[in-house]
Symmetry: none
Subunit: 180 residues, 4 copies
Amino acid sequence: MEDVARAAGISKGAVYLYFDSKAALFKALVESRVSPLRENFERLAVAGASDPMGTLKSLALIAARGFSNPDVVAVMRLAIGLSDRFPEITNYYREHVVERMHSIVEVSSQPPSIEAQIRVVDKPAMTRVIIGPLLFEALSVHSLKVDRGFEDPQKLIDATLISFSGGRVPRANLVRRTKA
Amino acid sequence: MEDVARAAGISKGAVYLYFDSKAALFKALVESRVSPLRENFERLAVAGASDPMGTLKSLALIAARGFSNPDVVAVMRLAIGLSDRFPEITNYYREHVVERMHSIVEVSSQPPSIEAQIRVVDKPAMTRVIIGPLLFEALSVHSLKVDRGFEDPQKLIDATLISFSGGRVPRANLVRRTKA
Amino acid sequence: MEDVARAAGISKGAVYLYFDSKAALFKALVESRVSPLRENFERLAVAGASDPMGTLKSLALIAARGFSNPDVVAVMRLAIGLSDRFPEITNYYREHVVERMHSIVEVSSQPPSIEAQIRVVDKPAMTRVIIGPLLFEALSVHSLKVDRGFEDPQKLIDATLISFSGGRVPRANLVRRTKA
Amino acid sequence: MEDVARAAGISKGAVYLYFDSKAALFKALVESRVSPLRENFERLAVAGASDPMGTLKSLALIAARGFSNPDVVAVMRLAIGLSDRFPEITNYYREHVVERMHSIVEVSSQPPSIEAQIRVVDKPAMTRVIIGPLLFEALSVHSLKVDRGFEDPQKLIDATLISFSGGRVPRANLVRRTKA
DNA sequence: CATGAATGAGGGTTCATTCAT
DNA sequence: TATGAATGAACCCTCATTCAT
C-alpha cells in the first residue's frame, strides 16, 4: 500500500480515501487493467463464432498485447503472491479473470466447423495452449526479469498458432499486424 | 519460515542452524526440488541431439511431471510472490531455473535435422510454446486454485505437442504414457 | 468525529467550524446533554432544603430519567473510554459532572432535620447509594448491552429509595410516576 | 498493546508470544483479575443459601474489595471503552462478568426466608442496589480520578446494606471488618 | 544440535486534524 | 459557511532474524 501511495504521490492514509481496503484496491486494479482485456475477449468470442480459427488468432493477439503491459502482469503477480495473506485477492482473480478466460476460449472452440480448421482435439486444453506461451513470456519478462524477451511478440504468437493450421501455414499474413 | 520449521518438526530458530537466511533456504529448496528436474532436462538435451522431436516430447513430459508436484509449483510461486521483499530469491530462480531451461530447450532445437521434423521456426519461442501450456496449467491449479485441472496431464501434453508433428499425429504413442 | 459529522449532515471538516477540537465538541456535548440534568439537580437541592427525603427522591427520579437517555450514557461512556487518548475529556467530565453531582447530593443531605427522615449516616456515601444503582443499570444496558434492563425504571428507584424510608414504605406514591 | 508491552518490559511484538490478539489478552486479563472475584461470588452464593442477608453482606464486601483493585476497574474501563473498535471484548465482559454477577446475586435472593430479612421486593433490582454504589465509587476513583474516594470502603458498604436491615442496624458489626 | 524468548522493522488500517478552494 | 482531499501519528499485528541457554 505504501508503494501505491508513493507512486500516486500521496500519503499512505490517503489511499483509503479511494479504496476501502487492499483487496478493494486490487479489485479496482483488475477492473481497470484486466477487465477491458476480458471484455475484448468476450466480444471477439461472440462475434467470431463462424470463424473459430480467426477468432483464436485474434484472442492470442489480444492476450499478447495485454501481457505486454507491465501492469497487467503485475496484477497477476499480486494474485499469485498474496494468496497466503489475502486469499480474497486470489479468489477474485481466479473468478473474474482466469476462469472466465477459460470459459471464453472453450466457447470459441465449440462450433462444429472448427474440426475442419483446427486439429487440436481436447477443447479444455485450448486455453492453455493458446495463452500458456504468452503467459510464460509475460511472467518471465515482467515478473522474473528475464532479459530474453521477444522484441516482436508476433513471433511468439506465430509459433503458438502454427500448431493449429495443420501444415498449411499462411505465413505471410498469419495474423493481422497491429499498426502501433 | 515458521511453516518450514513446523513442517520439519523443529523450532523456528533451528532453521537458522541449517540455512543462513530465508534466501539461502529458498536456494536449497530450488536445488532439492527443482534442480533434479533441470538436470533431467540437461541429460535429455545432450543425449537426444540426433532426435529433436523425440527430445522435445520427453522434455514436455518431464516438465509436466515436475509441475504436477505441488512443491515444484510452490517454489515458483515463492519466486514470483517474494520479488518485492526478497529480490535475491527472484534473481536466483531466474538464473538457476528459468534462464537455464530456456537455454536447454533452445539447444535442443539447434540440430539441422530439426527442420525436417518440426515446423516451428523461431527457436527462442520454443521454450514458451512447450513449457507455457504446462506452466499455465500448474499455476492455475496449484496457485490460483482453479478446479478445472486435467485429471490426465497427458492430454495437455498431446495438445501441446501436436503442433510440432506437422499433421501426422501418431496419436497412439505420441508420448510414452506413465503407468500411474 | 466522522460519525458526528454524518449525524449532523455535514462534512467532516465542517465540524471544525463549530468546535475547535474533539475535546471542545465533547465539552459542548456535556453542556447540551448533561448539564440540564445537573441544573435540575441544583435547582432541586436549593428548593428542597426543608424536605431532604423528598429532595433525594426527586434527585433519584431525575437521575433515572437522565440515564434512560442513551445520549447521556454515551457521554459518560466517552468520558470513561477516552481517558487514555484524550485525558482532557475525562478531566472535564469529572470536574463538570461527577464532582458537582457529589457536591449537590451531599449538600442535600446537610440539613439537621435529615436525621429524622433518613437513617444513612455517612453523607459522602449518599451520592453513591442513590446514583450508583441507576448508573449500574445505565451502563449495563447502554454500554455493555446487557438485555436484562428494567422496562419500568421506577422499580429500580423504589428499590433504591426504600433504604431511606426506615421501614415506613409509602409504596403507593413513593415517587411520582411518569406518564410515559 | 504498546502500553502493556512497556509495562511488561518487552517489545510490542513480544506480547504476541503470550497472547494471540488484543481480545485474547483482554480475556486472559478477565480470567486472572476478575474471575477469581466471580468465583468467590459463586462460592458464597452456594454456601450461604440459608442466610440470604449474610450472603448479600458478604457479596458486597467481596465486590468492594475487588473494586479497590485498580486492575479490576481498569478491565471494566476497557470493556466499556473498546466497545466500538472491539465488540468482541465488550461481549466477553458482558457474558463472563456482568451477566454472571446478575445471576448470582439474583439466585442469592431466592430463598423464601429472605422476605423476613430483606425488605426489597424486586429481586432483579438487587444486583444494582448492592453493586451499583460500589461500582460508582470504583469508576469515580479509578477511571475518572475523582479524589473524593473513601479511605474506608466499609462505610460505603454499611450505607449500602443498611437499606436491607429494616431499621435494625447492627452497626457495631454489620459486616466483619478486614484487617488490611 | 536445539530451543524459545525476544526483537524491530514493516504491514494494513483508522482517525483527529488541516487547508486550499 | 462549507467541502473534501490530504496528512501523519498511532493502532493491531506479522515475520525474518538473533541470542542466551
